[in-house]
């Protein structure tokens, strides 16, 4: 069995219990001027998940993209800020070369998920079945895009020579899956929570300078529920609420089998337009 590109791209060297590990960027998940943010986020999470003292499932992950990560190696520093009976707080920092300044900082919360009152307020919006939609052709030369199969029911990226007036909707509704497919876990779910084209591109019909500054992903299911999901595609909704003074937001919801909400994410991104 071949190792999936996602597992290769998020691999870490060094002692999982140690204060510093090493990882490297992946050409397979490359974007404009650095690695695909979803892979950096998954790498930070993986450092936590592999730590022998980690307990519980990931609950919340915030990743701050401080500076572009250059192609090559980086150091991953891990620290547990707090451990309680039911949750743990972890801090992760990536540095590169001789500089002490971080290129990425992250906080990860893991927690024991016990049975409780359960109530989901939102459902996957109605959309055609995966099988009935055509895969979107890779619309760009960015390598990360070809690591996913996207099947859009709504809000496919359309570029135009003149700015659409009024601006187009920022909402996309789609099926999303690793390509080739891979059983779902917290690493792939993390990466997929960032696997949406900048909402701004869709709204203005072009791709200006753009970069995610910070992303927060919440996980709403336990490891056993992701395992039960298997390698089926996820239904996803991505949208935005505002673009103003060089920054815009993005929201995402990822749904698994039976419409279970597995993860939600928000991000704020810089743009020059």
């Amino acid at each position: 069995m071949t190792t999936h590109a996602l597992d290769l791209a998020t691999a870490l060297d060094g002692d999982p219990a140690g204060p510093e590990r090493r990882a490297r960027t992946s050409d397979a998940y490359w974007t404009f001027i650095g690695p695909f943010g979803g892979i950096s986020a998954a790498t930070a999470l993986r450092a936590v998940l592999e730590h022998p003292e980690r307990e519980g499932d990931p609950l919340a992950l915030t990743v701050n993209f401080c500076a572009p990560i250059a192609r090559g190696e980086f150091a991953v520093r891990l620290r547990r800020s707090r451990g309680n009976r039911s949750s743990q707080h972890w801090s992760v920092e990536f540095t590169q070369g001789e500089s002490a300044e971080a290129v990425l900082t992250a906080s990860v919360i893991t927690a024991a998920r016990r049975d409780s009152f359960s109530h989901q307020r939102v459902d996957t919006p109605e959309m055609p079945a995966w099988e009935s939609l055509a895969p979107a052709p890779n619309p760009s030369s960015l390598s990360w895009v070809s690591q996913y199969e996207f099947r859009f029911a709504e809000g496919k990226l359309v570029l135009s020579d003149t700015p659409p007036e009024p601006p187009r909707s920022s909402r996309s509704l789609l099926w999303l899956r690793d390509a080739p497919s891979r059983p779902l876990d917290f690493l792939s779910l993390t990466a997929m929570s960032d696997a949406f084209f900048g909402r701004l591109f869709q709204v203005i019909g072009r791709v200006p300078p753009f970069g995610t500054v910070s992303m927060t992903t919440y996980f709403h299911a336990g490891a056993d529920e992701l395992l039960a999901h298997g390698s089926a595609p996820l239904a996803a909704v991505a949208d935005a609420r505002v673009f103003h003074r060089s920054f815009g937001d993005q929201t995402a919801e990822l749904y698994g089998r039976g419409g279970q909400l597995l993860a939600t994410a928000v991000q704020v991104a810089y743009f020059r337009a």
Copy 2:
């Protein structure tokens, strides 16, 4: 002129340029077993804003509530993880007593907000004017609640002896203002982004053990725009998407004059129900 309770509650001693400052919990903003999270978040942000090397306006703030903060003093450690030409990344940590373990960790991003393409996708939902709604009576003995004036158009907390079936809506639509009123700034906006009763209380009609674990607030306006808002009430929408296996989420949008979206927030909270 009397100093507003919010300014007293978020005050920090010590050198604003130093690596460690001191602050204390406020009895005026107290909740179940610790300080109101919105005030802790605003205190973390204030440490960054007062630092002489801070540049730009707050863009994103993530606060992780690692452990209950005991009544009294705490140390506030501040570190700049990265500074670029257009943005800065700050890490904040609260510790208490002799323990090196954090009771709170936060990351704050500040950024220069330049004029750009501007487009707001969402509007304040229709609701009656502030003047036409009655202030909600303080529904509990929690002191933080009386620091705000809430005027609900929809989704006022209603407790009941038997669990509502089906569960009630988690959505609230309301006007929100400091009481007494105070000109809006990033500190009060931060605190208000957490000033919503646990969505779960509304859904199940009672108040079980509950606590916010992590909150992320994005700011969508510059300091000059908040200044222009003055001390008028904010229109707010709070909702949730899922409660499952001991944790649930919360989303909030805060709108200013003319329906401008000033801030959005998400949080994940623990509950036992």
